[in-house]
Symmetry: C2
Subunit: 303 residues, 2 copies
């Protein structure tokens, strides 16, 4: 038998965790929780919010988050539909930080996208926001949780702010020094330890649902900030699409585990205290960026 670290990747975890656990009195493992999921525990993202980034090695699928950055998401859709990103490079891959693509050289024109956008760093807090809270303490925010399936930090007082946290796979909008805001012409994805110091400092527009490894396994750039030093080191984007613009046959039918269900609460508990036979000491704690939200491909696309 191979010596493994049995956990983490969820599909892997299912394989590894299903073996042990003969004791029926123990709290359920992650695999056991997920086996009990019903169809209603999953959601299908709106195809208007799905950005496909087709790289030579495959497709990265990103869910855009209009509630957090309405104007930026709209601009990213516009740029994508103009084929602005097609042929532009992944120009920067900085280890344990970000992979960044788009019009790094500022050479490309846009027909209808905006170059100046409003500041969209936070969402005003309101009781009406359907936030699911994570009870665990967090050092970077008074409270954390999920909103629309995205991880958030919450500061009800004094600022009254909610913001998407920078976790592995978070999509952000590159910018110059303030007051530049970024337009969406350059985008980045987090490929390292959650850089929470970026929270509320830069516009966040979504998160990767699938294929983040196509970005995280790219060679690192050896220039300052992880930029590639030679043009031939860059990876060219073949094409970017909004899923809604493709025929059903060209889409990938993904479902994402809902974060506003009792099942999700049990899932989080199974991650807070790992109960499979590999673990000796359950941590008794988790954090919003340590919780990977399961994604699955379903056989048939949605109606």
């Amino acid at each position: 038998m191979r010596a493994v670290l049995a956990i983490a990747g969820l599909l892997g975890a299912s394989v590894a965790l299903a073996i042990g656990n003969s004791n029926r009195d123990k709290p359920p493992t992650t695999a056991q929780v997920m086996e009990s999921a019903q169809p209603s525990d999953w959601r299908r993202p709106d195809p208007e919010n799905l950005l496909y980034l087709d790289l030579p090695a495959g497709r990265v699928i990103i869910e855009l988050a209009p509630r957090f950055a309405r104007a930026h998401v709209a601009n990213i859709r516009t740029l994508t539909r103009e084929k602005f990103f097609d042929g532009l490079p992944v120009a920067r891959v900085q280890d344990n930080f970000v992979a960044q693509w788009g019009d790094t050289d500022k050479i490309r024109q846009t027909e209808s996208a905006l170059r100046k956008l409003p500041e969209e760093l936070i969402v005003p807090w309101s009781k009406a926001l359907p936030i699911v809270k994570l009870p665990d303490a967090d050092g970077y925010a008074p409270e954390t949780g999920w909103l629309d399936g995205f991880p958030v930090g919450i500061e009800r007082k004094p600022s009254g702010q909610v913001w998407m946290t920078h976790c592995y796979g978070t999509l952000g909008v590159g910018r110059d020094n303030w007051p530049d805001n970024g337009s969406g012409a350059e985008l980045y994805v987090v490929i390292g330890n959650a850089p929470r110091q970026l929270d509320r400092n830069i516009v966040v527009a979504g998160r990767v649902l699938r294929g983040v490894e196509l970005l995280s396994s790219l060679p690192r750039g050896t220039g300052a900030l992880g930029f590639y030093e030679k043009p031939e080191q860059r990876t060219a984007i073949r094409a970017a699409h909004i899923a809604a613009d493709l025929p059903e046959s060209g889409r990938v039918a993904l479902e994402v585990l809902r974060t506003d269900t009792p099942l999700f609460a049990r899932y989080v508990e199974s991650r807070r205290n790992r109960r499979d036979d590999w673990y000796l000491v359950p941590a008794g704690h988790t954090d919003v960026c340590a919780i990977s939200i399961p994604v699955r491909e379903v056989a048939t696309p949605g109606p």
Copy 2:
């Protein structure tokens, strides 16, 4: 000018941060702190504690941590000196988790290394331990800090335990289910968000000082737990060495920023509250895995 996320990688940060900051009253930026470092702020790791892992793409340099896992470190040295690792593969690369190498198939013999080792999950807490504490709260441990330059969690009561935390770049010892302990014949390095749930569950033996990107940029395995499905997908280790066994000409002269100095405290403060012109809102918080410890190559090897 390129739109960049100006920070994170320290060398990159120096480039980006040296530009702004005309206001002399502001607390120093990371670049300004590092410019004030003296030779005594740096240390040269003991060559007996430096493990070189030579991959086709280059050398990974790991500092072993005998205080945390004396028997495991001794066994890793023995295995390395027997050329046990030479030709063995990196057999598992799981996205946002670990890269793992060694005798995954359990086919290789050892002459003098041990197959059974004592449990070395924690160091007993003692006032005499030269721990430097990080004042920021941490959800996974009552206290955190650094010991011998390695990040640690601390629980003085009730357990009286100190342990190395699982951060990006941490070296761990693969094992089967408990009570298997791992022998060092299979090793892994963290290449994703800090998997703190592993703390005190598996033996930790050091951390990568340089070249972690040679592991983190490998293609991800598509099998369960990120194992490669075909032998030809694996990356073979050309050779592993303990630096002390190589002539000076074959070593890399690295220095690591000391963690037990006033300068390091200022460095941490500059990371807790970023002061360069890119940032709008300093986080006012950091955590032990968010602090990258600077490493530099010096022109001449040590005496």
